[in-house]
């Protein structure tokens, strides 16, 4: 019996499907291994920090591993270089800020290695991870001419005592909103040119700003293998002035007890005063009857 083309095709599809399913099953059934990764962050106007992430692959997705004690070192895993000891949280994350005592070491270095180590604990083998970054700063600027608004950003790395602009760096240029950053133009990311400047035209007209019309521009280098994560912000008066909604403090049916609407207050107080006034009057009548009874006993009345 000879196999025609369709039979061969069916056979091959079935064969590779079985292999693929086996691979997936084998992958899923393997004991999950916990891994540790280290990331460096330089947030705006804040102390730089190192973040450790512990996770394991369960099935086809990663799950955080919590309660892992981790020691984080600068350059070398020695007690003298210990930046701090942390324990990963429910999201598998833990972070440590660079202590002020490391300022002189920090200032003297152009390239820094962060090492994270965790000893073996019950059922959990020892873990380690590291990341090496070059020290850099991110600068943001804005310009407005002839009705065109532009955002520029520059990443500068430390070379000797100088800060030198870095070329071809990919970064995000956005404007800060309540739940995240909105890109200033149509592109998701922008790349620095030969002079190290990434620029974008600001096309987000009529965005709501604060009460003075200020928007916060954000430049962000994200998960860069050489420089880590850097964020910088700048406020610009390019938004629409929005007066904050102050109704929260007004008298309303849903506000706190001391902000009861006047109509309700008057209504309730007048009803309560009316009824309780009557009750008090009636109690006084009882007292009056009592007095009359005493006077009767003394023969003062009949």
């Amino acid at each position: 019996m000879t196999l025609n083309y369709h039979h061969k095709l069916c056979f091959l599809v079935s064969f590779f499907s079985v292999i693929a399913i086996n691979c997936v099953i084998a992958q899923d059934s393997a004991a999950p291994v916990t891994t540790m990764s280290v990331r460096y962050f330089l947030p705006v106007n804040k102390v730089p920090y190192v973040e450790v992430n512990t996770k394991k692959k369960v099935g086809r997705k990663f799950e955080p591993v919590m309660s892992i004690p981790v020691s984080i070192y600068l350059n070398e895993a020695t007690p003298a270089n210990l930046l701090g000891k942390v324990i990963t949280g429910a999201n598998g994350l833990a972070k440590v800020a660079i202590p002020a005592t490391f300022k002189s070491t920090w200032d003297s270095l152009g390239e820094i290695k962060f090492i994270a180590e965790s000893d073996s604990i019950s059922g959990q083998p020892a873990l380690s991870g590291d990341v090496t970054i070059k020290k850099a700063i991110l600068v943001i600027d804005s310009a407005s001419a002839d009705g065109v608004r532009a955002v520029t950003a520059q990443l500068k790395e430390k070379k000797g005592n100088e800060w030198v602009a870095v070329k071809d760096i990919e970064m995000k240029l956005g404007v800060k909103r309540m739940l995240g950053n909105l890109t200033v133009g149509e592109a998701e990311t922008y790349t620095a040119d030969s002079t190290g400047i990434a620029s974008a035209e600001f096309k987000r007209d009529s965005l709501a700003g604060d009460k003075n019309g200020n928007l916060v521009l954000v430049a962000q280098v994200e998960d860069n293998d050489t420089y880590g994560n850097l964020i910088v912000e700048k406020a610009v008066p390019w938004g629409k002035s929005v007066q904050p909604d102050t109704h929260f403090w007004h008298r309303s049916l849903w506000s706190t007890g001391n902000r009861v609407p006047v109509w309700l207050l008057l209504l309730a107080v007048s009803i309560i005063a009316g009824v309780w006034g009557m009750i008090i009057y009636l109690v006084r009548q009882v007292i009056k009857i009592k007095k009359m009874g005493k006077e009767f006993d003394r023969g003062l009345t009949t």
């Binding site: 309730a268 309560i272 009857i289 009359m292």
Partner: protein, 438 residues
């Protein structure tokens, strides 16, 4: 049937003075005390362990306690119906029923207030309601109106009692000494002078005028606790009138049952006559028809539309999990009593007693049906909730506390009847005097 108007004042006084408990009275009181003590024990358990001893949960957060609360508030409304409305309407046959309705009102409203504290779980937090209360909240209105109604009902009971206290002080030899000091403390100042009588009469009229709107408020506000909440079955503009009509019905039913029991136990056949049963029967059938009318409005209109969100709730009542209880409450609480009472033979004491019991029992379950099924069918879909959250059956602690509170109401009425005349002696004699010329 002998007419009480033909009795001498001495005979009336002798018949109506409070009597010591007989063997049945002692057994009855002991049984009530036992149930109340079991309820108190269950409440101590709840205080120690928290509301976790109940079967209330995320969905049924108002269970049997709130059903019981609504029932107590409803039955307490009778004080305003019999005393205030009948007095202002100058209903001539009201005398034997007024004090019974007043004490039912006071005892029921006392336990309505207490059961709310039981439902709170942490009683000391009641204070927060006054420290941080919001006038915008119907719960706050309820607290204010319940305390107001309690004070007004107590005043009404006390002021109408004054002449009888004088009679009881005078009858010390017959009554013995157990309560002599108490009577003197309460009303030795009442001399029955013309000036005192004038003030008393004016005061009673003023209370009667005041108590009617307060009584309407108390049950309307209680209905608003539900109606201002956006839930299937509660989101109704009909609720105020529906609750007030139901309250009058159960209150009148309660009075009929109490009339029958006191008549039998204290042999008051010459004072609570078949005429009183006949009149109350006619009132009861009218109130049952009125409540049935509001029920038709409450259930038929949403059932006709059968909006998706209300469907599960309504089907649960009509044909589902709560159908036996629902049809029991409608049939036993309204329709069967109407059929009994619409005929003159049905308005005889025994049949009236049966109808009264049906109305009261049906009304209790009706309150349970107002509270629980709605909470089991929220508008928002239940998400990630344990299966037990989809059903509610009270725990033994809840049953014990509820039974204890019902026993507590009956204990107050029982002790009151032991200490004070359950029919006003003074008013009965006065009615007799005014009847004489005619």
């Amino acid at each position: 049937m002998e007419n009480p108007q033909k009795f001498s004042p001495e005979k009336i006084t002798s018949d109506l003075l409070p009597q010591p408990f007989g063997r049945r009275g002692k057994l009855w009181t002991a049984a009530l005390l036992l149930v109340a003590l079991i309820g108190a024990f269950a409440y101590i358990q709840q205080l120690r362990k928290g509301l976790v001893v109940t079967n209330m949960g995320d969905y049924v957060s108002w269970g049997i306690y709130i059903s019981n609360f609504v029932f107590f508030v409803a039955i307490s409304l009778v004080g305003s119906l019999i005393t205030a409305i009948f007095r202002l309407a100058d209903v001539p046959w009201r005398t034997p029923l007024t004090r019974i309705s007043e004490i039912i009102a006071v005892s029921a409203i006392t336990f309505a207030a207490l059961i709310i504290i039981v439902d709170m779980g942490r009683p000391e937090r009641m204070l927060y309601l006054f420290l941080h209360g919001r006038l915008q909240s119907p719960i706050m209105w309820d607290v204010i109106v319940i305390s107001t109604y309690f004070c007004t009902s107590l005043l009404l009971l006390y002021i109408t009692l004054l002449p009888d206290i004088k009679i009881m002080i005078a009858a010390r030899e017959k009554l013995g000494t157990p309560f002599a000091k108490f009577y003197r403390w309460l009303g030795s100042f009442w001399k029955g002078t013309e000036a005192q009588e004038k003030i008393r009469n004016r005061s009673i009229t003023l209370i009667c005028i005041t108590i009617i709107p307060v009584a309407f408020c108390i049950h309307t506000v209680t209905s608003w606790l539900f109606a201002t909440t956006y839930r299937p079955g509660w989101d109704s503009t009909n609720f105020g009138a529906y609750f007030v009509s139901g309250a009058f019905l159960v209150g009148a039913g309660g009075v009929v049952v109490a009339m029958y029991v006191f008549r039998r136990v204290y042999k008051l056949e010459h004072y609570i006559t078949e005429r009183h049963f006949d009149k109350m029967g006619k009132i009861l059938v009218m109130l049952a028809l009125l409540y049935l009318y509001f029920n038709v409005n409450e259930y038929l209109v949403p059932a006709f539309k059968m909006k998706k969100d209300e469907e599960a709730h309504l089907r649960g009542l009509f044909t589902g999990e709560f159908a036996p209880l629902f049809w029991f409450a409608i049939l036993v609480g309204m329709i069967i009593p109407i059929f009994i009472l619409v005929f003159p033979k049905g308005r005889k004491p025994n049949a009236m007693f049966a109808a009264g019991v049906m109305v009261v029992v049906g009304a209790w379950f009706k309150r349970y049906l107002i509270v629980t099924p709605t909470l089991l069918h929220p508008f928002l879909p239940k998400f990630d909730a344990p299966a037990r959250y989809s059903h509610y059956f009270p725990s033994w602690e809840e049953w014990a506390i509820t039974a204890g509170s019902l026993a507590g109401v009956l204990l107050i009425i029982t002790f009151f009847a032991r200490v004070f005349p359950i029919i006003s002696i003074y008013k009965t004699i006065t009615d007799h005097d005014t009847e004489l010329p005619s």
